[in-house]
Structures are given as structure tokens and as C-alpha cells.
Assembly symmetry: C2
Homo-oligomer: 162 residues x 2
């Protein structure tokens, strides 16, 4: 209401419904989070460097995004009620995993990771470990779990490249 | 209300407040989840077998617990409002990580993992990966991420023992 200068009724009229408003708010938070985590590394030249920078951005820039990871925040509350929101969160998560998977596929094509590497497996593990560590760090109010996750994932990437 | 036969006012009188009721509901869900995930393996004889069985219970018995992981469900909603609930969730998470850490410590004492193994690091990675995969599997409505997490963690345990 402060941002738009509209009254509550006016906001609902604009967005059609409370559900749609929540979905638009998610999209906005998600596009901000995604931009913050985009590495300043050319993924076609150095895909593994891109992955390490992406992980580092998630760990070190988390506090810049108000409220933390939009997927983590929205995944649970959207589960039971708001189907529009639920679909947006699931699509955002899938886009994120697919992006990481694509970069690992590039690394494999360039011979920068072993030919036996499974990009979907690696992408799922990177995203799972980071999201779980984000949850723990948030509950414990310190970066400890996230720093351990980063260390673990960097070693995991080492095992793929050697 | 169905379970106790009390009216809403009676339930609140019994628990003192809505916040306390939510905290008691969490404790109940948590003790059920914990019992379901307790491996049928003697941790003092085979600590690594205990860890693998614990991971397997989390992956394969998740649907038995109504609503899924109580920590994942409660971590986000408790973050802003209910301080009593927040403290219970944080304590439950810390107890879980400490339990896993203790079993890895036993494995190290028995020479079943390398002496350089850091039990707190390993416990944090196991719990992070499982919680993140639980979130993904719930959003995607399939066990895919959890099965990948289990495979990854079993290989991770292999690297500690070899």
C-alpha cells in the first residue's frame, strides 16, 4: 500500500485477487533474488567457475534480499492453499535447477568434468544442500551451516573435475 | 477439537495461549517423526549402518508422517511471529544435528571413518541435504530429489570410510 499509494481495495481491484497478488509478490522477490545471485563469470568460458561463484553469491549475499530465499519462504505456505502461488514457486525452482544443470552440461561438453557426470544429479544436490543450509542458518541465526554447505559443494565439484 | 472433545475456548484455556498450543502441536509432531526415523540398528556396534538406515528412514517413511517434516513445516512460519514455537523448532533441529554428530563421533572413535573426519561438518551436510531435498520433493510431488540426496549421501559416507 505504501509503495503504490493505493488503498487495500484498489490493490485488490488491480490484481484481481489476494492469490494473484501473492503470486505477483513472489515473482518480484524471485526476480530480485535471481539477479543478485547471477555470477559475474562467463558460463560458456568457465562453467565450473560460474557454479562456484553462484554458490558463493547464495551464501554471501543472502542478507541483501529482504526475508531471505523466496522459494524457501513460499514453498511451505503455498503448499496447502494458493494454487497459483504454488505453481509459480514450483516453476521458479525447476528453472533454477535446470539452469545449474545446463551449466554442468556445458562443463561436460568442454571436458571440464568427467564424462560420467550426471548434470541433473549434480544440480539437484547443489540446490538441495543450499536450500537446506539456508533453512538451518535462518533458524540458528548464523551463517555456519551455509559456510559448511559451500565448503562441501566446492569439494564435491573438485571430485567431478579430477 | 475432535481429538480432545473440548470446544475451542476450552482448548485455549488448557494451553494458555494460541502460541503455546502451536508449540505443543509441534512437539507432538516432532516426537512422532523422530520415532519413525529411529533406525533399528545398534549405533554403538555399527554407527555407519545406523546413519545409512537413518537416511533411508527419512527418505522412505516421509509420507507416513502427516504433513511431512515438522521442522521444515514450522521453520518458516515460526520465524516472524511465535517466539515460543521458534525456540522449540530451533531446539529440535539442534538435537537432531547433535545426534547425527554423536554417531559420527562414535564411528571415528571406533576407526570406522578416517581420523580427520569432522563430525559437526558431516552432520550439518547430512541434515542440510535431506531438508533441502524434502522441500524440493514436496514442491515437485515426487521422490526424485530425495532419492538423489540419499544416493549422494551414501557415496559421501563411502568417502569417509575409505
Amino acid at each position: 500500500m505504501a509503495a503504490t499509494g493505493l488503498k487495500k481495495g484498489g490493490i485488490y481491484r488491480h490484481f484481481g485477487s489476494k492469490e494473484e497478488l501473492a503470486a505477483e509478490a513472489f515473482d518480484y522477490a524471485w526476480s530480485t533474488a535471481r539477479a543478485m545471485r547471477e555470477p559475474d563469470v562467463n558460463q560458456t568460458v568457465d562453467p565450473i567457475g560460474w557454479l562456484r561463484a553462484h554458490i558463493d553469491n547464495l551464501v554471501s549475499r543472502r542478507s541483501v534480499i529482504a526475508g531471505g530465499c523466496p522459494i524457501l519462504n513460499t514453498a511451505i505456505e503455498a503448499d496447502d492453499g494458493n494454487l497459483v502461488l504454488r505453481a509459480r514457486v514450483a516453476r521458479a525452482l525447476r528453472t533454477w535447477i535446470a539452469r545449474v544443470e545446463h551449466v554442468i552440461g556445458q562443463a561436460r561438453k568442454m571436458g571440464k568434468v568427467r564424462a560420467s557426470t550426471d548434470p541433473e544429479m549434480v544440480a539437484t544436490i547443489i540446490v538441495s544442500t543450499l536450500e537446506g543450509a539456508l533453512m538451518i542458518s535462518r533458524l540458528e541465526k548464523n551463517a555456519d551451516a551455509l559456510l559448511k554447505a559451500q565448503d562441501h559443494l566446492n569439494r564435491y565439484l573438485d571430485t567431478l573435475t579430477s
